[in-house]
């Protein structure tokens, strides 16, 4: 595909990249049937669940965000449902060393906790068999029913020995603020197993997706996502998640970046004023973020993306926070360049692979373990 080529020079620069945000789509409930027990298989028919799309409401099939138009599949198939297309569109093109799959599917937000747990389990099985086992470059996040901590922990434990699962996936807007102690068993296990918590944009819509009420338009919901990230990072810091779990890593995925500068300024300033309220927070929030939180770089949402990254490196006092991602096949109204041209070589290398290797300890271990897991 000549028109799809990156050009030899750029392809070389990206070779071995770690793409930290790829979205495989569950094409339909039929693919999960082999992984469900008799009860759920019958319920799917009886309740006509198979006729539901069950895409996550934040990423409905035809919303602009769900697919860059030139990445659309033939016959109107769900964007992201074809491994072959993902290989052509991004994996082969960037010659990625690894790509991390973040499957966004209704399973993780079903109101029934039992149903959510059963379908998350099936989704993870399906990802293992249809994606991880078919392309050795792929790694995945564990999809969990985050609103039931016990069931979430059980699902994480079920995947613990398969080192191709490198992260735990949560939505930025679930049922609770993420710092609440109710979630801590998930974080305790994540820390022990070397699994970062990947927080992805998107809502379970248990509450209005903006702090001031329900939006009328897609554009309001889209713009509100970064505020949700800000709130959740603040929740995790203030509730003491990072004081309690000093080795825990969090990756903000599809969070946008430019809001960070203003946020850390306000968070640091306010902490200095009211720190006695949260005395376990003994470091400035910006320092806690520097130690524990990483961000995927698609989208950047700035007029000059190179300048925006340079400024953030300066404000955050670190070049280790940003992770390469194509966000395939999502579309943030951006163009083809996954990273802006003109980044200094060292920063480029860090963003493209070194930062991810430091964030995901299982990436380096997975190759040696994979044969056993298979």
């Amino acid at each position: 595909m000549a028109g799809n080529s990156l050009g030899t020079d750029r392809a070389k620069r990206f070779a071995g990249a770690i793409d930290c945000d790829l979205h495989p789509a569950v094409p339909g409930m039929n693919v999960l049937l082999p992984y469900l027990d008799d009860y759920w298989r019958e319920m799917i028919t009886v309740r006509a669940l198979d006729r539901l799309n069950l895409s996550l409401t934040s990423y409905p099939q035809n919303a602009p965000l769900s697919c860059r138009p030139d990445w659309a599949l033939e016959d109107g198939k769900k964007p992201g449902s074809s491994l072959k297309a993902m290989q052509e569109h991004v994996l082969d093109r960037y010659q990625s060393g690894h790509g991390i799959l973040n499957c966004l599917y209704g399973a993780q937000v079903f109101h029934s906790e039992d149903m959510a747990a059963a379908f998350c389990r099936a989704t993870n099985d399906w990802i293992r068999d249809e994606w991880l086992s078919r392309d050795c470059r792929l790694r995945a996040s564990i999809v969990i029913p985050a609103h039931n901590t016990e069931m979430a922990v059980a699902e994480i434990e079920r995947r613990a020995d398969d080192f191709r699962f490198v992260q735990i996936l949560m939505l930025v807007s679930g049922e609770l603020t993420l710092g609440r102690r109710q979630n801590w068993p998930i974080y305790r296990l994540a820390e022990r197993l070397g699994l970062p918590i990947g927080i992805h944009a998107g809502s379970a819509y248990r509450c209005a997706p903006t702090p001031v009420g329900w939006p009328s338009h897609y554009v309001e919901d889209y713009i509100a996502q970064s505020a949700a990230f800000e709130t959740q990072l603040q929740s995790m810091i203030a509730e003491g998640v990072f004081a309690k779990f000093p080795d825990l890593k969090v990756v903000a995925i599809e969070s946008g970046l430019t809001w960070l500068s203003g946020y850390i300024w306000r968070a640091d300033k306010t902490w200095k004023g009211v720190r006695a309220e949260v005395p376990w927070v003994t470091k400035a929030p910006s320092e806690i973020i520097r130690s524990h939180v990483r961000f995927t770089v698609q989208p950047i949402d700035a007029a000059d993306e190179r300048e925006a990254i340079a400024r953030l490196v300066d404000h955050m006092k670190s070049d280790s926070l940003f992770l390469f991602s194509t966000d395939y096949p999502h579309w943030q109204f951006d163009e083809d360049a996954a990273l802006p041209p003109g980044l200094p070589d060292e920063l480029f290398r860090k963003i493209v692979s070194e930062n991810a290797l430091a964030t995901y300890p299982r990436l380096s271990k997975a190759n040696q373990i994979m044969e056993i897991a298979l």
């Binding site: 300033k269 004023g273 720190r275 006695a276 005395p279």
Partner: protein, 137 residues
Amino acid sequence: MTRHIVATVDQIPPGERMLVTIGNREIGIFNVAGEYFAVGNRCPHNGASLCKGRIVGLVEAREPGSYQFSRRGELVRCPWHGWEFDLRTGKSRCEPDRTRVRSYEAKVEPGAVLTDDTLRAETFPVSIDRQYVVVDV
């Protein structure tokens, strides 16, 4: 360094503070449970008057959910941004090495000692049978 008599002890009861000017410096004198401390009045961050701040204790935590309260009344919170300063050392709680207010030695001396030396040059009338707060500046 010169010693300055700034107040009689009963002018600054426990838990209270007094703003004094020595030369061109404004200094806050704080009585913490009978012990006197003197720090520059000007917050090193943006210049608010620390003497107008709230007196607080030290709050620490072993882990999230633990609240350890100690050193009642030994810190002052800036009235503008709420930064806490340790009255014993002048160091701020959040940035102890970077942000600190000048602290001075404050002592209580009997008038009998003070009337003997040159300190009488101060505008303060000193009588032998009273106790005075003295600051080294």
